[in-house]
């Protein structure tokens, strides 16, 4: 994962079983509306429609799947490092395995869960027709030679040099963490 300011603090915050405070109030977006407003600003600053759409899909996923069900802190942590062309998005939600477990019984690991999320058109919010978001993210990252680090639980997704790989991490993330280099 690429380096960015407060990387270690964010990682530790996501690893804690329970937290009572947001990591950085300036980076915490508690509702979809304020998150959308932030993305509007980022679009105005960068004029990069695809990056904004990718960030929007990842961040809105957190709201779609965790509303009323956050682990402790609601909303998303979101930070854009303009000069480094880096975006960090994190949430302390249920994570991919629990979310998909509603519709795909018997998922054995976080790795299997993130692999399904990034490769199959399936969503935890069945019967709604969903499940395109992370496939869209993967396609955009691969086609533009961007980089993505995504972790939920111990399930890890990396997209580098146009190739996507899945693995297990030794560290556990409570919720999801995405780092996009565009």
């Amino acid at each position: 994962m690429r380096n960015f300011t407060k990387k270690e603090e964010l990682f530790k915050w996501l690893q804690l079983a329970k937290v009572e405070q947001v990591l950085d109030p300036a980076c915490q977006y508690n509702s979809r509306d304020v998150f959308q407003a932030k993305l509007d600003n980022i679009y105005q600053a960068t004029k990069n429609p695809l990056m904004v759409a990718v960030a929007g899909e990842i961040g809105n996923n957190a709201f779609d799947h965790n509303l009323g069900n956050w682990r402790d802190i609601s909303g998303v942590y979101f930070k854009h490092f303009m000069d480094d062309r880096l975006i960090v998005i994190a949430d302390r939600g249920r994570g991919v395995k629990k979310t998909l477990g509603n519709i795909v019984p018997g998922i054995k690991s976080d790795k299997e869960a993130v692999e399904i999320a990034f490769t199959k058109t399936i969503s935890g919010r069945s019967p709604e027709q969903r499940g395109n978001g992370l496939k869209f993210v993967a396609e955009a990252v691969k086609r533009n030679n961007w980089e993505l680090f995504f972790q939920s639980g111990t399930g890890l997704v990396k997209i580098e040099n146009g190739t996507m790989s899945f693995s297990e991490s030794s560290a556990v993330i409570n919720g999801c963490l995405a780092v996009l280099k565009y």
Binding site: P49, V52, N60, F136
Partner: protein, 96 residues
């Protein structure tokens, strides 16, 4: 009939926003069609002036149209914007 998508906003993301846009379209933009009970043969979605489109928004809006006007052909205009192109491509890949 042609629907100018920019009239729903320039930055179109999230499912709730797409659902809301379709509800508004159904009540107002498509009202004329409903009153005359015409089933359009073709619906053209014009993306001119849209800055950002995400597949979640597009999925909600286009699925709504397809359910309402079963059998109508839906085609797209002014899709040069990268996010519009990529969003429509992923939806079309998944048969929407």
């Amino acid at each position: 009939m042609t629907i100018e998508i920019k009239k729903f906003g320039n930055i179109l993301m999230s499912r709730p926003a797409g659902k809301e846009a379709f509800a508004a379209a159904k009540s107002y933009v498509l009202l004329g069609l409903a009153l005359t009970a015409d089933q359009p043969q073709e619906i053209v979605l014009d993306f001119a002036g849209v800055d950002v489109l995400a597949p979640s928004w597009a999925d909600e809006f286009i699925s709504g149209l397809k359910d309402l006007y079963k059998g109508a052909k839906i085609s797209y205009l002014n899709t040069d914007n990268e996010s519009v192109k990529a969003s429509l491509a992923i939806l079309s890949k998944n048969n929407l």
